[in-house]
Symmetry: C2
Subunit: 364 residues, 2 copies
């Protein structure tokens, strides 16, 4: 499972180049352009179930013209950091750094440490390993949490929790214990909580003062505004300050700051959305089970199916204008986001029934 | 003028920390929050002349809901890169990398090279020297262009052209000669063209294929949408690809991509705006000369005044609710952006007359 790349200096003068971190080599959800090329006869409109983005976005508040026209004011960014700390349960705005998407933070963190060893609990979101390797670190993918404590020590440990795509959730106690060990060696524990909004009890954001702990939150998924581009890092104030310095001023757009600051403070919408997502995930499970598929994991924002007919299902659904997420290294897996309406659920169910009726259960 | 900082490893585990690149230590225009604190009795609304942002922004086209709700599609970013290449005169979209503001590119470039020597043609936008020094490079500020060629060689040379705040413009031939020398030593010439839109003949964007040349463009200033956060790097395809890989996917917001792609292609608006800005800059000069001030430089987006009474003018204008840009190291300089309307011009003129009438011309 080892996947390491060494620093090289090419003709461009760039010392380290990320392989795949430009998005070309790594498979991502949401690529409707690619789906239309792959399935040119699929009916429109597509139902995109290939991401883990809430299909019922936070309603956009009015955006003042100044948010577009002026550089974001210092007070606007501070207001966002306060709202993020309060929403995510971090001690204070001093623990917060904001960037234009959590991907931007995933790209940045590896450039803030000298080359070292990195362990990524896998399988998971592929950009973590790619970005650390691309910046010249030696990256190992580790299959089990216990191995991280037991002879698999590394300068930086990266855990996605709850995990994407299987929803595996580690306990707060286990994560804090690991964070303490990482801090003792001058290392970091990076906990990517991109899908933690629906299950706040799983979050370690409240412990952001712990040295060496770096929690990443993704605004766009739970709030359904992935195009807004806002990612949040929660960590000890000295590291948060170093991150803010590395990110620089005005990294988040003025409209993004205005919308996100309102959304993060809207407890009524947040609570209602948690309930709505949980209900929708249960309804999706019911639909999948009815057609004979096995749900092996997930979160309220996506469900993971394991089936030997996954490739045929991906292809058949694509031909029916329904995009789901497949995985290069786990050929039996399919990840499905929440259908946005009843009509989409019925399209998904009917397509699955049709595909599975024509597929040998033992085929791939 | 030497200004270098060495890499240190603090408690946060971060190897290099930028001093000032978080925006706290460096003076920036546009800080109305700070102005209201400094001048609590100033009348509202403020006239903010402290930036070089076009006060007549590109009119926002309708923004589709998908731009907010979905991750920006690959095709949307490619469309933006094509529009940017065409607008700025670069050979092709392969020469383009887009980030959430040119500041984000200024933060990133120093992290893509091993520590080396950097020469910044000064005085200029302070973030260049701060970001290179903050990332562990040895930075010299150089006073004249000739010195760059003559015994002041460095791995990276940074030039703002036209320069901020004095508008000093280097010839295309001089820049291309320097780029060639930089490439021969495996170095870079970074040309920050944040204020080149009004004077396209000064741009070297058309030579983006030259190895070692990195041109930075700032979308928000000329198009008057500084809150949108879009910066463009134009360089040889291999370096542009390395930049895109380091920036990662989805760095620019969906709404930003939609608006900017339309704006960059709107030749009618661009041509009309060039004429409008030139006329407004001439009108501002006339106003400043009438009150007895000396305009020593600038571009169509801002004008630079040199006067021994600059501190008194900055303070008196602040008390009158007019924010202009002062400079810590050039106490005689004031930079003024374009007043947005005739009423603002009159407020500026009357305030200057009042302040200068009560000020000893030899006082500071």
């Amino acid at each position: 499972m080892a996947e390491s790349k060494t620093a090289t200096k090419g003709a461009s003068g760039v010392t380290t180049e990320g392989q795949g971190s430009g998005g070309a080599a790594i498979l991502h959800g949401g690529d409707l352009d690619g789906a239309r090329l792959a399935f040119p006869h699929a009916p429109e409109p597509w139902v995109d179930l290939s991401t883990g983005i809430n299909p019922w976005p936070y309603p956009l508040p009015p955006i003042p013209a100044d948010a577009w026209n002026r550089l974001p004011a210092r007070g606007a960014e501070e207001g966002l950091r306060e709202a993020a700390a309060a929403c995510y349960g971090a001690p204070s705005a001093a623990n917060v750094a904001a960037a234009s998407g959590s991907q931007a933070l995933i790209q940045l963190l590896p450039r803030l440490r000298a080359s070292g060893t990195v362990a990524v609990l896998a399988p998971t979101y592929a950009e973590h390993a790619a970005c650390w390797a691309g910046a010249g670190h030696v990256v190992r993918e580790v299959a089990g949490f216990d191995a991280l404590a037991d002879g698999e020590a590394a300068d930086v440990v990266v855990v996605v929790n709850p995990n994407n795509p299987d929803g595996r959730t580690l306990s707060v106690a286990a994560l804090l214990g690991l964070a303490e060990r990482q801090a003792a060696r001058g290392g970091w524990l990076v906990v990517d909580e991109a899908f933690a909004d629906a299950d706040p009890a799983a979050s370690v954001a409240g412990f952001a003062d712990e040295p060496g702990l770096v929690v990443l939150r993704s605004f766009g998924k739970f709030f359904g505004l992935a195009g807004l581009r806002l990612g949040i890092a929660l960590c000890a104030p000295d590291l948060a300050g170093a991150l803010r310095a590395a990110i620089g001023p005005w990294a988040v757009s003025g409209p993004g700051l205005a919308v996100a600051t309102a959304a993060l403070a809207d407890r009524v919408w947040i609570d209602a959305t948690r309930a709505r997502l949980a209900a929708a995930a249960a309804a999706l499970d019911a639909c999948l089970v009815v057609v004979g598929l096995r749900v092996v994991g997930g979160t309220s924002l996506f469900r993971l199916v394991a089936d030997r007919r996954a490739a045929a299902l991906h292809r058949g659904l694509g031909e029916a204008g329904i995009l789901v997420r497949r995985f290069e290294r786990q050929a039996d897996w399919l990840r499905l986001g929440l259908p946005p309406d009843e009509e989409s659920v019925i399209r998904l169910r009917d397509a699955c029934v049709r595909i599975l009726a024509g597929t040998d259960p033992s085929a791939r």
